[in-house]
């Protein structure tokens, strides 16, 4: 029995019926299946938080592309997560207007409060801290996103309030 067969058998049950339906819905206006690669990664990540190796292989198979090619796509984009992330991702803007307005100190305050640096997840799995290109809210700098929410005019008090229940930090 070949390894390929084992992998194929396993992959058939990795994606949910709903995920496959949603991916197929995207294919309606896309002439090649691989054209839905990024959409498919986002669809799968939506419910699971990140894209595991198994999911990546299952998506690649469904879209009739090699998993290596899809991996090249997945790792290019900063909003596709190939490692597990916390319940909420903090996208911290460190671009120029936020920098002028002191974002380095705010970032340090968040790191101290949560006990994590960029790329790390808190021990309680509540937050993952990541840098992000300019968030387009420079008149309210410094800013960041916590999950889907934009938080503006950051200062130490805002950080303190936001993460009041801040857990003892930790690294993954």
């Amino acid at each position: 029995m070949s390894d390929t067969r084992i992998i194929q058998t396993d992959l058939s049950s990795v994606l949910t019926v709903e995920e496959i339906a949603e991916i197929d819905h995207e294919l309606v206006h896309i002439p090649y299946k691989s054209g839905a690669a990024i959409d498919a990664l986002k669809i799968v990540q939506k419910a699971r938080g990140w894209v595991s190796d198994e999911c990546l292989q299952a998506i690649a198979k469904h879209l009739e592309m090699s998993s290596e090619e899809l991996e090249g796509v997945a790792t290019f984009y900063n909003l596709i997560y190939r490692r597990p992330v916390g319940d909420k991702v903090i996208l911290f803007c460190d671009s120029v207007s936020c920098w002028i307005n002191g974002c380095d100190d705010i970032k340090q305050a968040i790191s101290d409060k949560l006990g994590v640096d960029y790329g790390e997840t808190t021990n309680d799995n509540a937050y993952t801290l990541l840098p992000v290109p300019c968030l387009g809210a420079c008149d309210r700098a410094p800013v960041m996103m916590v999950g889907d929410e934009l938080v503006t005019n950051l200062n130490n008090e805002v950080v303190e309030t936001l993460f009041a229940s801040g857990k003892s930090g930790g690294k993954q």
Binding site: I30, V96, N101, G136
Partner: protein, 431 residues
């Protein structure tokens, strides 16, 4: 001054829905076009208006469209209109405002622009972080389909157009139009070689136009009220109004719609309220992170593409970033170069390896490890990386713009870092 692009935008009131948009004259441009204007007629009005692209390059919109093959000259198949809503240029915050508070204005502009080039499919390529704008655009699209402004036979004209919101998965380089097209095709967002230009061979090899949000938002007004009216809005050489923004340590940072050609000083002092107390203006980037610094000697310049260009910079996105006298210019340039080095797509060597080299040299200088010859190294990098033609796209040359102008205007600051062996701004003594 007459508000055009922001006339429906009152952030406290929330987004403008279909009812409110139409009550204030919305979709009258579309109605006018669908009841008797041909695509050629519409395109001619836009060409006559002298509208120039608001995404940063300032290319004339009508001319960009004129390269799309029309009628018999086009092989059968789809044509695409893509809205570049991937706002990520450091210091730029204008398209977010337009999309969050007046999504229908953008959609009407897109329907009209698609009509002008004969497109039957259109995408709003929007950065994934703009969750509010994505939601409001989707609601507005649903309203349009319900009213017959999208889909088959728009307003009974026989014209058919479908429109989709495509949230991106990140990366600054997607703002480059051919990289954006690759991203839409589900690939890595490496820019493509040009030619062929997207107007001839873009998305899926078909004719494609990519326009910025603000550019497209101008179209309904131009069609509705004509080219002469639009030209009359500017107070300088360029036509129309523009969203100008100011960020940095000013009293009232923000974004305002003003006539094209408004002087820098008026934007900075009357609208942004001037510098915060105790700070002096040292320099400013006129239109985002990849434009050259200008200084207080340039405050009386008009914000027009050619005027700012002649002064040695670019109007870019029209959103200025202010450098004050207590913020380190070396640190600011380091922040920008770090950004561009991180956002390089990695395709060509001068960008992938050159920008991290520049970052390293700047880090050394900023951290007090700089040597006198480092400035020569930076000059070498500027000449090599900054030369158009040495790189695959404009990212790395753009990155060199703030660096080369910082060395020109603030060279003393670089030298003080090197001779003093530390950043003179970090001691708290300031400049």
């Amino acid at each position: 001054m007459e508000k055009v692009l922001t006339r429906n935008i009152v952030p406290d009131k929330g987004p403008t829905d279909m009812v409110a948009y139409e009550a204030n004259g919305g979709y009258s441009g579309l109605r006018k076009a669908m009841s008797g204007m041909s695509p050629d007629d519409c395109r001619e009005v836009v060409s006559q208006s002298n509208l120039r692209g608001r995404g940063g390059a300032g290319f004339p919109t009508g001319m960009k469209w004129s390269f799309v093959p029309m009628g018999d000259k086009c092989t059968p198949g789809h044509k695409y209109l893509v809205c570049n809503a991937d706002e990520m240029e450091p210091g730029t915050f204008k398209d977010r405002l337009l999309m969050e508070y007046d999504p229908h204005q953008l959609i009407e502009g897109m329907i009209l622009s698609a009509y002008c080039i004969g497109a039957d499919l259109s995408y709003i390529f929007i950065r994934g972080e703009y969750v509010v704008a994505i939601e409001r655009l989707r609601e507005a699209l649903a309203e349009c389909y319900a009213k017959g402004y999208l889909g088959e036979n728009i307003m009974g004209s026989g014209y058919k157009l479908d429109m989709y919101v495509h949230p991106s998965a990140g990366r600054y380089i997607c703002g480059e139009e051919t990289a954006l097209i690759n991203a839409l095709e589900g690939k890595r967002a490496n820019p493509r070689a040009k030619p062929p230009f997207p107007q001839v061979s873009g998305l899926w090899g078909r004719p494609t136009i990519v326009n910025n949000v603000e550019t497209l938002c101008n179209i309904p007004h131009i069609i509705d009220r004509g080219a002469d009216w639009f030209k009359g809005l500017g107070v300088g050489e360029d036509a129309g109004t523009k969203l100008f923004g100011v960020s940095g340590r000013v009293k009232n940072p923000g974004c305002w719609e003003l006539p094209m050609g408004t002087p820098v000083r008026e934007i900075l002092e009357n609208h942004a309220g001037g510098m915060q107390d105790g700070l002096q203006l040292k320099g400013f980037l006129p239109g985002g992170g990849s434009t050259d610094f200008l200084t207080q000697d340039h405050l009386d310049l008009a914000m027009d593409y050619n005027v700012i260009g002649k002064a040695g910079s670019r109007m870019g996105t029209g959103t200025m970033i202010i450098l004050d006298d207590q913020t380190c210019p070396v640190g600011m340039v380091l922040n920008l170069i770090r950004f561009f080095a991180h956002e390089s797509c990695g395709f060509c060597t001068p960008c992938r390896d050159g920008l991290p080299w520049s970052r390293q040299v700047l880090e050394d200088i900023e951290n007090g490890r700089g040597k006198a010859e480092d400035l020569d190294t930076l000059e070498y990098q500027i000449n090599y990386i900054g030369a158009i033609g040495n790189t695959h796209c404009a990212l790395a040359p753009g990155a060199m713009e703030p660096l080369q102008s910082a060395l020109k205007y603030f060279r003393e600051d670089f030298e003080r870092h090197i001779s003093g062996g530390r950043c003179p701004y970090h001691s708290g003594v300031g400049a």
